[in-house]
Subunit: 209 residues, 2 copies
């Protein structure tokens, strides 16, 4: 089933999940598709279609059970399957991501950071140690880690990529503004922030000012 979810559906499901988390905090038991639709400024039909993909039906007039729907999204998106990942580059962005506790709720265990700066190596952030990049190969082997969140400066991006790929990293979540060259057995997800925002400004109409 999961294979048929488009990227946009997955993206919306995580937003629904975020709303459901809020509702649980507020001890609200039911949520309706119009309520979700209004919060996200999307069409009600869209919300119902997405949730129908999970084979889940709400109750007439009261809507969906918040806890059940949340659990179902978690199962569909495999939040319970813990995936170990490293952050490579402990500048502001790496630090921000290391502090982001929400990752764990989504099944990501950020187990360590790596850097080359003598001021950073040996310290820790949010309970996660910062190691020297040269130690990544042996730590990756020990942890069976295959995912790296890459937040190094642009000028070092390719060199660091070559090094971590040689160390067995197979999935790179690339926050650098570089297009990385990798072998075919390595997958790169370009977190193209500017591209994301341009989708917003070009297609969703930022007014001239």
């Amino acid at each position: 089933m999961e294979k048929n979810l488009t990227d946009k559906v997955i993206n919306r499901l995580t937003l629904y999940h975020s709303i459901l988390t809020d509702y649980i905090e507020k001890n609200i038991e039911y949520i309706s598709s119009p309520q979700i639709a209004e919060l996200l400024h999307v069409d009600n039909t869209q919300v119902r279609k997405d949730i129908a993909l999970l084979n889940y039906k709400g109750k007439c007039k009261v809507g969906y059970k918040v806890k059940e729907l949340k659990l179902l999204i978690e199962e569909t998106l495999k939040f319970k399957k813990v995936k170990t990942a490293f952050i490579v580059g402990s500048g502001n962005l790496g630090m921000a991501l290391a502090k982001y506790d929400n990752f764990e709720a989504y099944g990501f265990n950020i187990s360590a950071l790596f850097d080359i700066s003598p001021e950073k190596v040996g310290t820790s952030i949010n309970g996660k140690d910062i190691f020297h990049l040269k130690d990544l190969p042996k730590i990756a082997e020990k942890n069976d880690a295959k995912i790296v969140i890459l937040t190094v400066p642009r000028k070092n991006a390719q060199e660091v990529t070559d090094f971590i790929v040689k160390a067995g990293i197979r999935y790179i979540w690339n926050f650098t503004p570089c297009v990385l060259s990798v072998p075919n057995n390595v997958q790169v997800w370009n977190e193209n922030l500017i591209g994301n925002f341009l989708q917003f400004t070009v297609n969703h109409g930022v007014e001239d000012n």
Copy 2:
């Protein structure tokens, strides 16, 4: 023409732009669609289709002129139209975005940051002043700024949103993990990082480990 570009096309165009920038740095005059396709691990046909949308044709055997193609992407995505934006929240993520000089190449002028922390207000980062949040309304009016990049903690996200919306902000690039409630004349772009990454792990197959 711009109106017909899908989000995915826009996203790929910014990646092509990043490759073209590299090529210009390396003084390479031509680039072919297979070269772009190989770097991005996408299909050559896809690259040619995207570029055809710009009404640009390469030369047989030599490919596209790097400088011309880069300029055309910039025009299509309106990089030259300068858009003033504020960063609200100067934690690690806000600081990382403030340091990201690439924004300017894409037409975003991050003119100031806002925070409430006494240690931060009055300082500056990357040549941008950090003001107290309470001063945002008058500074927004003076700068005619309508875009905010929101990087405050989750617990303050809605309260800060209400405040900046009242101050005339109309576009919010939301990096908090909250679904914000806003009036209909305000647009929110949820930078749903977890959602982005789950697209990668669910649909592009992160192996179990």
